[in-house]
């Protein structure tokens, strides 16, 4: 009797496994861990747009799940593991602070593939991806130095991690090609997302004499402060011109969709490999929003000349398009 029972159990398990296997083969489950709310209009919003693009691209072949507002640090492990247990085979953890938690879960589940944004730790089943935003920051530095009357730029930093520090350095180097005496004032707010605090930091920078605001935090609050004070600013991660129609010079737009689609495709056809992707403007890992609010009469410095044509062209077309720019994400292909 016992043998019959064991055999029956084995048959059931096999049937269950094959059933499960069949359904898994039908639909690839993909999980996303988000840092902020999907409506933050910045970092998380851009990842969400890319997820939607993936859904649109693959339709019925995949099923996506996302968890938003997941704090960075050890607790993220629980959230990531939850996605694994729910049957997700490809998991995107979309912030630097998820690095160690992702690695831990990746070691525990070797059959699940992980994609970690902006980190530097990899494993056989854990790839990393990031964009060379410093290129955009360099351009922003040149623009800022040309547009600043005070020669003082205000920079709101989040955390002193590689991505943020390289952004500040690139801004400084870019600005110095135009004005060697440029000053960059930095305030760290030690948060990615706190609109009130970001606004306070922007006010403090303007009160201390900066006339251009640059941010590496996720809400449009600094842009809005600059706009209220009649000063200029750069957006962050997404198009923020709505919050500063007269203030935004340009913005670095994170465009994750092509990468996400490529990786999901690789997962579907079994060619997924752990890699380190670090794309720049040329590979469209990010784009620059249309150049706006720049005066055309300012003579460009010779060393900034490579951006001159684009700057002037964009400034002109942007003004014409101003009414249409209200659409949050424009597909500005300024370098195409």
């Amino acid at each position: 009797m016992r043998k019959i029972l064991i055999a029956a159990t084995a048959v059931m398990l096999a049937a269950g496994a094959s059933l499960f296997g069949a359904s898994a083969a039908e639909k690839l489950k993909i999980g996303f861990i988000y840092l902020g709310p999907i409506g933050d209009l910045g970092w998380t919003y851009q990842h969400e747009l890319a997820r939607q693009a993936v859904v649109k691209e693959f339709g019925d072949k995949i099923e996506t799940t996302y968890l938003e507002n997941v704090p960075e640090g050890p607790d993220a492990e629980r959230a990531i593991e939850q996605l694994v247990r729910a049957g997700n085979k490809l998991i995107f953890t979309t912030s630097f602070g998820y690095m160690d938690p992702t690695l831990k879960v990746a070691k525990k589940y070797p059959n699940v593939h992980f994609e970690h944004a902006t980190g530097y730790k990899r494993d056989k089943n854990m790839a990393t991806y990031s964009a060379r935003w410093y290129q955009g920051r360099y351009i922003q530095g040149q623009i800022a130095a040309r547009m600043s009357k005070a020669g003082v730029l205000g920079y709101i930093g989040s955390f002193p991690i590689p991505e943020v520090v390289s952004g500040i350095n690139a801004t400084m180097l870019g600005a110095q090609t135009v004005n060697p005496n440029i000053k960059v004032k930095i305030i760290w707010v030690n948060t990615w997302f706190d609109p009130g605090k970001e606004a306070d930091a922007a006010k403090a920078l303007l009160d201390q004499g900066a006339d251009i605001i640059m941010q590496h935090t996720d809400s449009p609050a600094p842009m809005q402060v600059a706009s209220e004070r009649g000063k200029l600013a750069f957006g962050q991660d997404s198009e923020m011109i709505k919050f500063g129609p007269k203030a935004q010079l340009t913005s670095i737009l994170d465009t994750w969709a092509p990468y996400y689609i490529a990786r999901v495709k690789a997962e579907l056809d079994g060619s997924w490999k752990s890699e380190d992707t670090w794309g720049g403007l040329d590979s469209k890992m990010f784009e620059m929003a249309p150049y706006t609010n720049m005066s055309e009469d300012k003579p460009p410095s010779p060393r900034a000349s490579f951006i001159r044509s684009n700057v002037l062209l964009r400034a002109r077309t942007a003004r014409k398009l101003n009414a249409r720019v209200a659409i949050i994400l424009t597909t500005a292909r300024c370098w195409a």
């Binding site: 933050d40 030690n190 009130g196 403090a204």
Partner: protein
């Protein structure tokens, strides 16, 4: 000098939501009810306040929507803890989680929209006085309201009979009940007042501080308001000191960073909390006698058990 003025203005703006929310929670706790849902009520107040202001175009109506939303949410808390005598800590935490989710739902359609920020007072002559003019006579209505609210609460608690009864209920609900005071009814009003204040404090954020709505924009301010109530030893006088001290250190550390003081930013970010703890220790040392917390705080009351 202009920088000093700018700093004081920023401090007042940063402290006001904390002060309003903490004033409400102080009254709730003085009645013996611990409502940990301040963060949840604030964020729902922010979402509804913004929605109201955006739909009607009026900051005042927006603020009213925030107040109503905060009050409604506090009613859920009251039904659970006063009506069904459920654990207050668990209910308060649940209220926060509910509030964060609910605000995202309510606010989803308003993300990316803007409203005109609350108007600032302008009295010709007075507002133009250098240095103090804008600080004293050029604030938005919320700042004046927060101070009026605080004075009102102080007068109520210490100068009226009803205030005395409320404090008595917070200290010993059994005795108050035996004397014939309606414990649950007064607690209900106290909880609703706390909810209204939290809703107003939340509405301040998208209506005056950063005039747009984004999910999660309270970013923990409700918890700070809760901590400020403990900091103040449940006394309105110290509450205003605590709120402005916290706001001042928050803003000053930003300015210190901008000015290039070579102190690690992580330490600077911790300063407001550190300063609050140090002052709390100093206050406790200066005081003689036992705890100042309302004796019945957080305990459940079921009449005629």
């Amino acid at each position: 000098m202009e920088l000093v003025e700018a700093i004081v203005l920023a401090v007042l703006a940063a402290s006001t939501p904390l002060l309003i929310a903490a004033t409400g929670e102080l009254v709730t706790e003085r009645a013996g009810v611990l409502n940990l849902g301040v963060e949840g009520m604030m964020i729902v107040g922010a979402a509804c306040g913004f929605a109201g202001a955006w739909l009607t175009g009026s900051t005042t109506l927006g603020a009213l929507c925030g107040i109503v939303a905060g009050t409604l949410l506090s009613l859920i808390f009251a039904m659970m803890t006063l009506g069904l005598a459920v654990n207050q800590v668990a209910t308060g935490l649940a209220l926060t989680i509910l509030g964060i989710g609910l605000s995202g739902l309510i606010g989803a359609g308003f993300v990316g929209e803007k409203v005109t920020p609350a108007a600032h007072l302008h009295i010709p002559g007075l507002t133009d006085i250098p240095l103090v003019g804008r600080i004293l006579f050029g604030e938005d209505a919320f700042v004046y309201l927060s101070l009026a609210l605080l004075v009102g609460v102080w007068l109520f608690l210490y100068r009226t009979r009803a205030g005395l009864v409320l404090r008595a209920i917070g200290d010993n609900h059994v005795s108050a009940h035996a004397l014939g005071y309606p414990v649950l009814r007064i607690r209900l009003f106290a909880v609703m007042f706390g909810g209204a204040c939290a809703g107003l404090a939340g509405a301040y954020l998208p209506l005056a501080y950063t005039p747009f709505f984004i999910p999660g924009m309270t970013a923990g301010r409700g918890w700070i308001a809760l901590a400020l109530v403990v900091f103040s030893s449940w006394r309105p006088g110290l509450l205003v000191v605590g709120a402005y001290l916290f706001g001042a250190v928050t803003i000053l550390q930003l300015h210190a960073q901008g000015a290039g003081f070579g102190i690690p930013s992580q330490f600077m970010s911790a300063l407001p909390y550190l300063a609050t703890v140090i002052v709390l220790v100093l206050i406790s040392r200066a005081r003689t006698g036992g705890s100042t917390a309302p004796a019945a705080l957080g305990t459940v009351f079921v009449p005629d058990r």
